[in-house]
């Protein structure tokens, strides 16, 4: 069974069909990428699937269960996590705390116990800090563990988002343009990181502009144009598809 199934998903904003009858399946353990020219509806598709926007029609199934209309925090309980194209880091917290928030659902959230700082809470807290620090090291931020979030560079914040998403221990991770705005070295590092994440068993869905990155990483690629599915397949298949070539040449050449 596919981990994620999307069927005939559509959404319109002010009369513009941002996503139009899109269907696809994401197999567990794979890296799935969504590409397309600017304004093709990639991020909107992400926002629909992750519960930020509501679809007008169509269906989204997670492990066979219909999840349309669920709020993002409900989807999080089902093992779905994501990062954002324009960063959504809590600048009022430290970098480490941002990662710790990611573990929210796995923790005892009782305010009363917290206020009295019962021993169990103290122990769990210590453990959590270590876990979060390890995750930061995992994404390559070992030296930023004690920094405030607003002191981090753009590239570091992108990784921090990934670390936060991983702290939730998701089955399915959506990465929205993780390499946007990064220089080639940083992009290479992100490439390696994504591969490492996928190898650890997390299914990754990716929106990305950087073709090299996508082609290099993806098991399966979905191409969107004007909100519609243009093509689908492996990197090689997509690369050969004349429609895709036309769309990309037409758009960017």
């Amino acid at each position: 069974m596919a981990l994620l199934e999307v069927e005939n998903l559509s959404a319109a904003f002010g009369g513009v069909k941002a996503v139009d009858q899109v269907s696809f399946r994401v197999e567990p353990g794979s890296i799935f990428s969504v590409i397309g020219p600017n304004g093709a509806g990639k991020t909107t598709l992400f926002n629909l699937v992750t519960g930020i926007y509501h679809a007008d029609s169509g269906e989204v199934r997670l492990e066979g269960r219909r999840v349309n209309g669920l709020k993002p925090y409900e989807l999080a309980r089902l093992g779905l996590s994501r990062t954002f194209q324009n960063l959504q880091i809590c600048m009022n917290m430290t970098a480490l705390e941002n990662v710790m928030v990611g573990a929210h659902l796995r923790l005892d959230r009782s305010p009363l116990k917290a206020m009295l700082r019962l021993p169990a809470i103290v122990a769990r807290d210590r453990e959590l800090r270590r876990e979060a620090a390890e995750l930061m090291a995992y994404v390559g931020l070992a030296d930023q563990v004690s920094a405030e979030a607003d002191a981090l560079s753009y590239g570091a914040l992108k990784r921090l988002e990934i670390a936060r998403a991983l702290a939730a221990r998701p089955k399915l991770l959506f990465l929205d343009e993780p390499a946007a705005g990064l220089n080639p070295t940083e992009t290479g590092e992100i490439d390696g990181l994504i591969q490492k994440v996928a190898e650890s068993g997390v299914t990754v869905v990716l929106v990305e502009h950087d073709m090299k990155l996508v082609m290099n990483l993806s098991d399966h690629i979905l191409v969107l144009d004007y909100g519609r599915k243009l093509a689908e397949g492996t990197a090689a298949e997509v690369r050969r598809n004349p429609d895709v070539i036309a769309a990309y040449l037409g758009a960017s050449a």
């Binding site: 992750t50 519960g51 930020i52 709020k71 993002p72 925090y73 999080a76 309980r77 996590s81 994501r82 954002f84 959504q88 880091i89 809590c90 600048m91 009022n92 917290m93 430290t94 480490l96 705390e97 941002n98 710790m100 928030v101 990611g102 573990a103 929210h104 659902l105 923790l107 005892d108 959230r109 009782s110 305010p111 917290a114 206020m115 009295l116 700082r117 809470i121 807290d125 004690s146 405030e148 979030a149 988002e161 936060r164 998403a165 702290a167 939730a168």
Partner: protein, 310 residues
């Protein structure tokens, strides 16, 4: 928030233990007790305003509910102050829940408008129901007797409130450094991001709001018993503004800031008391200047200047 919180707590405890040496008479004790009460109240409000980023312009309404609950229940129904206090807190919490649930389904600063209205309604009810509350002229309140111990006189109150302040600071720090608190701070930083990691944003906002409302109610009860006399002004719009001002001047999301803010703005009227009229002007000017020159508030700004973070 990573530094250990114990040096600060210890310093505060030491300061509070030594402070009586510098207090010559009952009046100075009185001012300090009022500062301590306000400090706890403002710390609570800061959880909502500074940490969760939700503004309440009617917080004094909850203070008034607590104050009048104990006053009315002990005076008219002969209740013991402690259950009366609990009843007040429960009532405030319930009301906060009823109001917050529909409000937090909406995005944006609707809480500001709702709390503004709620606070004024509570003040009007208190002012009108004079058979119970004594109306605008106010009502006397009996002193507080805890189990076998009469809490009366400024010095006893000072001791009690000093301990309570340190405890409140400790537990507020604990709370904000817990999964609950991090979720609350995260939703202020980014609602979407916190949703995505599983934080039910609406529920957490409601929870903080209810918590601060109950805390405000308890502090209101204590104020009533301490001062021994209550007027509807305790629930009024201006008092709400005063409380928010203390939060803002001291520093949003800074618990020590709340103590400083409460201290400064409680002492201000005492300093300006002989300059009738100028008090309003000074109060307003301080608000404007703080927001312009120290938008983060006194304590965080100074802390940053002296090179420490939070």
């Amino acid at each position: 928030m990573r530094r250990s919180r114990y040096p600060g707590l210890l310093a505060l405890s030491l300061f509070l233990a030594l402070l009586p040496l510098a207090l010559p008479n009952a009046y100075t004790y009185d001012v300090v007790v009022r500062i301590l009460i306000n400090a706890i109240l403002v710390m609570g409000l800061n959880l909502l305003v500074g940490f969760a980023g939700q503004i309440s312009l009617g917080h004094a309404g909850f203070v008034g509910m607590g104050a009048y609950s104990t006053a009315v229940l002990t005076t008219h129904a002969n209740w013991h102050p402690l259950p009366a206090m609990a009843a007040g807190a429960a009532l405030a919490g319930f009301l906060a829940l009823m109001v917050a649930r529909p409000i937090f389904r909406l995005k944006g600063q609707y809480l500001t408008m709702a709390t503004l209205g709620l606070g004024i309604i509570i003040a009007i009810v208190i002012g009108n129901e004079s058979a119970w509350t004594g109306g605008p002229d106010g009502m006397p309140v009996s002193s507080l007797s805890l189990v076998g111990f009469e809490l009366s006189g400024e010095k006893r109150w000072y001791g009690f409130m000093a301990v309570l302040l340190v405890f409140s600071l400790w537990s507020c720090q604990n709370l904000m450094d817990s999964p609950f608190g991090r979720a609350v701070r995260a939703l202020h930083g980014s609602e979407v991001a916190s949703q995505v990691v599983g934080v039910n944003v609406g529920r957490y906002k409601v929870a903080v709001f209810v918590l601060t409302a109950m805390l405000a109610s308890v502090m209101g009860s204590l104020t009533a018993h301490y001062v021994g006399f209550l007027t509807p002004g305790v629930a009024g719009f201006f008092h709400s503004i005063e409380l928010v001002t203390m939060v803002v001047v001291g520093g949003m999301a800074s618990l020590y800031g709340s103590i400083v803010g409460a201290a400064l703005l409680t002492m201000l009227p005492q300093l300006l008391a002989t300059l009738e009229g100028w008090e309003t002007v000074a109060f307003g000017a301080i608000l404007v200047f703080t927001m312009i020159f120290m938008p983060r508030g006194l304590v965080p700004t100074l802390a940053a200047r002296f090179g420490r973070t939070r």
